[in-house]
Symmetry: C2
Subunit: 274 residues, 2 copies
């Protein structure tokens, strides 16, 4: 893929992916191709939704009406791939390891670069991601099971509807982390201070009440083990827009590939409201 | 019982129990004799533990080591029945509707006035009470079942030990309020801001994990109904000291009678840490 400026040339030295610009450059150069978990610790990573201007206003209304699954971190000007407010030299077309291109609600391609798809009318939405609150939980001594087990967080489509806006509608997707009740209470307190990255859980303890029949069969991600003294704790999930896009079928859309996020310069610590 | 100053004389006009001094005077005069729930709305009510000086230092260490069941609102000077910091013209000997006198860990009397028992070495502890956080939950639109059902909150001795200090030890007592999972999450956030009145719950969803075999058989208070879509939510309870006194058997102690609290001038709103 042609890269147009000097920073996009492969550099002789490997990038330092512990800082956010280094992480983005490593991804841009193709030296990092997998999930972004663990890159630039302490920095906010974001879910991505890119839509043409004619759908973007409705999607922004959808996000505002559904702040728990879709906490907005940034919205670009139409056609501008550089979101300077969230990252220096950031290029949204090349700085995510893998994307999903959607046409009429169907996935058509999963490229590592969307420069060929770029258009002057595309608006980029960066949406808060659970990596930020997982860091806060780990710092408080709470084990995150899917991290311990080295897999993706289990995610489930629920019977909870999102609030529709324009063409956008569909069920809430939640991520699940098993915890002891005492840790679940602590996790509510910790994540409740972080509304910019999904905030407090939306549900706990009773998957049947939100339409989840079997925790061992997630709709996205991987199943994790749940111990006898644990309850499942559910957070609104940034994969909700992808489920909504599949349901609402906009003509054209690009999202990140689950787990392959945009790494920003924003500090997780800055997201706390208290 | 002889009352020594003018304010303790029955007044011609009934006291206004919607303000805290009026509530205390109505209790002192004997015109209010039952539970204090609903008196002086918006004001902090407190659990009471009164101990001789030789046990008081250990009990203070016990309270500091167990802040969730024993959040300290005030501690008196030895022998001083007036806690001016928490109420004007407050007299701890007469301003609680009913007391329990304990000798060697056994209840010996449940008087309406402890003036005959007063000694120059008695230290008064006022401990935060769930009435304050229940008000905050109700203001947020959360139903409190035992209030709806017009009975006392159900309380249970648990398998969770308190942290011992000196002679004081014994199991944590919890109060239980059934809620939908979504309201339970909200309740964690609301009560977590109120550490001075028990703070966030200590447990939820799984009574078996904390040694509660049957929610229909509380150790104190009354059973309440639990709906199919609800989970039990447990808070550390200010009755814990009474259970601890029965276990630890100090030579002499006075507590309030459950439900008959000391009404203070402190505002519930001032207890919030954010």
């Amino acid at each position: 893929m042609a890269r147009s400026n000097a920073l996009r040339q492969p550099s002789a030295a490997p990038q330092d992916v512990s800082n956010p610009l280094g992480a983005r450059l490593a991804i841009r150069e193709g030296s990092h191709t997998g999930p972004t978990a663990g890159m630039a610790p302490g920095c906010v990573q974001g879910n991505l939704v890119i839509l043409p201007k004619y759908d973007a206003a409705d999607f922004l209304r959808f996000a505002v009406a559904n702040p728990k699954p879709c906490p907005i971190i940034a919205v670009s000007e139409p056609g501008d791939p550089h979101l300077a407010a969230i990252g220096s030299d950031l290029d949204i077309r090349t700085d995510v390891p893998r994307y999903v291109v959607w046409k009429d609600g169907r996935k058509t391609e999963e490229p590592a670069d969307i420069t060929p798809h770029w258009r002057d009318d595309l608006v980029t939405f960066v949406i808060g991601c659970s990596y930020s609150f997982e860091q806060a939980l780990i710092e408080d001594g709470i084990e995150i099971r899917h991290i311990t087990e080295g897999c993706a967080v289990p995610m489930y489509r629920t019977s909870i509807p999102t609030t529709p806006a324009g063409p956008f509608h569909g069920p809430l997707v939640v991520s699940m982390r098993p915890m002891t009740p005492a840790n679940a209470i602590r996790a509510v307190q910790i994540t409740g201070r972080l509304p910019g990255v999904h905030g407090a859980p939306v549900h706990l303890g009773r998957p049947d009440l939100i339409g989840i029949a079997d925790l061992a069969k997630p709709d996205y991600g991987d199943a994790v083990s749940i111990r006898d003294d644990e309850i499942p704790v559910f957070w609104a999930c940034g994969v909700t827009p992808q489920s909504v896009i599949a349901t609402s079928r906009p003509r054209f859309c690009i999202t990140h590939y689950p787990g392959s996020m945009i790494v920003t310069d924003l500090s997780n610590a800055r997201l706390s409201v208290s």
